[in-house]
C-alpha cells in the first residue's frame, strides 16, 4: 500500500517536472504546445546517447540534458513559435502536432524505433524496505532519487517565482501582458527565457524518466496526454496547481494499474473528464485569477 503510494508520488513528481514548462507557456502565452513531449524526448535521448556512446556518468548527463534542451527551446521559440502566439488555437494545435510528427520521424530515422535502455549507476539500483506486513514501504533508490531531485527543483522554482526579480516580471507578464510591457518589462525576453526554462525542465524530466517511463520515438505522443491532463486539471495560474494535479494523476495511475489492471488508463481519463466537466478551468484556480 505505502509502496504504491510512494511509487505514485515519484511518478507524479516526475510528471510535474515534465509538465511544468507546459503550464507556464500555456499560462504566459496562451499557447497550446502539443510538442512539449518532444523536448522531453530530446532530453532523454541526449542522456542515453552520452552514456552509451561517450561513457559519461549519469549525474553529469542531467545538466547537459537540461542545458541542451533549453537551448533548442530558445532557438525554436525565437524562430518558429513566436509568430504563432497571436494565431487561433487551431493553428497552434496543427503547428505543434506537425513539430511532434517531425520529431518522432526524425528520431526514428536516426536512431531506430527500438526502446532505448538507460544503464543506471550501481548506487541507484538498490531498494530499501521499511516496516512490516501490509504497511511495508519499499522504496527503489532510483525513485527516491527522483523524488529528491524533483522536490529540490520544485522548491527552487517556487523561490524563483516568488523571490526574484525575474519571477515577479514573469508573474506580471502572466497576469497582464500589455500592462507589463507598458511598465517597461521586456516581455519578449521573459517569454524566451521562460520557454527555454520550460523546455529545459522537460528535457531534464525526460532524462530522469527515461528509465521509468521508457524511451522510444513514440514518447511525445504517448505522454502528451498526461502532460496536458496535468495542465488542464491543475490550471495554469500557479505552480502548486499543476504540482497537486501531477501528484493526483501519478497516484491514481499507479494505483489504478495495480488494483484494476484490466481497465488500466481508463480510470485516469474518466477522472479527468469528470473533473473538467465539473470545473472546466481546472481544480486549483483562484477566484478572479486569469483563467
Amino acid at each position: 500500500m505505502l509502496t504504491l503510494l510512494f511509487d505514485g508520488i515519484a511518478y507524479g513528481m516526475l510528471l510535474f517536472i515534465l509538465a511544468v514548462g507546459l503550464a507556464v507557456t500555456l499560462g504566459l502565452m496562451n499557447f497550446i504546445n502539443l510538442a512539449h513531449g518532444a523536448f522531453a524526448m530530446a532530453g532523454g535521448y541526449i542522456t542515453v546517447l552520452l552514456m552509451q556512446r561517450q561513457g559519461w556518468p549519469f549525474l553529469a548527463c542531467l545538466p547537459v540534458a537540461f542545458i541542451l534542451t533549453a537551448l533548442v527551446g530558445a532557438v525554436l521559440e525565437r524562430s518558429l513559435y513566436r509568430p504563432m502566439y497571436r494565431k487561433p488555437h487551431l493553428d497552434q494545435v496543427l503547428f505543434s502536432i506537425g513539430l511532434t510528427f517531425m520529431a518522432i520521424a526524425s528520431v526514428d530515422y536516426v536512431l531506430g524505433s527500438s526502446q532505448q535502455i538507460l544503464q543506471l549507476p550501481e548506487w541507484l539500483k538498490g531498494r530499501t524496505e521499511w516496516g512490516e506486513g501490509a504497511w511495508t514501504l519499499g522504496m527503489g533508490h532510483y525513485r527516491l532519487f527522483i523524488v529528491a531531485v524533483c522536490a529540490v527543483l520544485t522548491i527552487a522554482l517556487q523561490l524563483i517565482l516568488t523571490r526574484t526579480r525575474f519571477g515577479s516580471r514573469l508573474r506580471a507578464a502572466v497576469d497582464d501582458q500589455r500592462v507589463a510591457a507598458g511598465l517597461g518589462i521586456n516581455v519578449n525576453v521573459v517569454f524566451m527565457a521562460t520557454f527555454a526554462m520550460g523546455s529545459g525542465l522537460a528535457g531534464l524530466g525526460g532524462a530522469l524518466g527515461a528509465e521509468v517511463l521508457g524511451l522510444d520515438p513514440g514518447f511525445p505522443l504517448k505522454y502528451m496526454v498526461y502532460f496536458l491532463i496535468v495542465v488542464a486539471v491543475g490550471g495554469t495560474s500557479s505552480i502548486t496547481g499543476p504540482l497537486l494535479a501531477a501528484l493526483l494523476l501519478g497516484v491514481a495511475d499507479v494505483a489504478g494499474k495495480y488494483y484494476i489492471p484490466k481497465l488500466g488508463a481508463f480510470i485516469v481519463y474518466s477522472l479527468m473528464i469528470a473533473i473538467l466537466v465539473w470545473k472546466p478551468q481546472g481544480l486549483f484556480v483562484q477566484r478572479g485569477g486569469k483563467a
Binding site: 509568430p83 494545435v93 520521424a105 496526454v225
Partner: protein, 315 residues
Amino acid sequence: MSSTTNWRWWELLLWCGAFAMPWLWAERALVINEIAILALFAVSLDLILGYTGIVSLGHAAFFGVGAYSAALFAKFVHPDPLLGLLVGAACATVLGAVCSATILRGSDLTRLMVTLGVALILLELANKFDGLTGGTDGLQGVVIAPLFGRFAFDLYGQVPATYSLGVLLLLFVLARRLVQSPFGATLVAIRDNRLRAMAIGIPVAQRLVVVYTVAAGVAGCAGALLAQTSGFASLDLFEFHRSADVMLVLVIGGTGWLYGGVLGALVFQVLQKAISSVTPQYWTFWIGLFLVVLVLVGRERLVRPWTWRFGGQRV
C-alpha cells in the same frame, strides 16, 4: 439566399465525375472508396470545427464507434449493409449526444482534453473487452450481404466505392442544407463571437449540442462505411493520429466550406500514397513539415494561390 443555395454547374459535374471514376478507372476503385470515406469524415468535422469553431482532437471516437457497431451488427445480427449503416450512425449519434454535454463549458484547452479523453477511453475499452472486439487483433470475419440484395461487395472495390460515394453524396446534401439554413447561420455566429451570439438570443448551448450530435452521427456513418467496405475493424480506428489526420485533411481543403473536406481528402490520400511509396516508414515527417509550413504561411492562403505574391499580407 438563393444564389448560394442553388447547385452550380461545376458541382453537378464534380459529382457525376466522382460516380463515373470507379467504373472508368477500375484499378483505383479501392482508393476512391477510401477517399470518399475520408471526405465524409472530414465533412463531419467541418460541421463542428469549421462552422461552429469547436477544436476537437477526438473526432475519431465517433468514427470508431460507428465502425465497431456496424461491424458487430453485421457479424452477430444481420449482414445487410444499409441496416448496419443505420446502426453505426445511431450508436455514434447517441454517443455524440452524451458527449456534447462535455464540450459546452471551458476554454479551447478544456475541449481539446475532453474530446481527446473520450477517444482514449474508447480505445482502452475496445482493447480490454477483447472478447467482443477482438482486442489488438481487430474484429475479423465481418461478412456483408450484397447491397439491396443484388450488388455483392467485390474485391475490386467498384461496388463499395459507388456505395460510399452514394452515402457521401446523400449526407453532403443534408449537411449543405443544414449549414445554409438559418440554423447554420446561427452556428457561424457562435463561431465568430459567442458572447454576441448569446446576446442576440441564440440558444448557444442547445445549438452546440445539436451540431455536435449531428456531426457525431455523420462521423459514425463514415466509420460504418469503412468497416463494411473493408470487412474489418481495428483499434487503430480510435488512435490519436486518426483524429489528427482528419483535422489535417480539413485544413488542407479549407475549413468552413463543405467542399474543403472533399478536396482535402483527395489531396491527402494522393499525398499519402505518393510519399509513402517513396519512404513508407517516415512519411509522418513530411506530413509534419507540411503542417508546420502550412501554419507559418497561413492556411487561409494555401487554397488561394492569388494571394501568394503579396508576401506577408494578412488575409
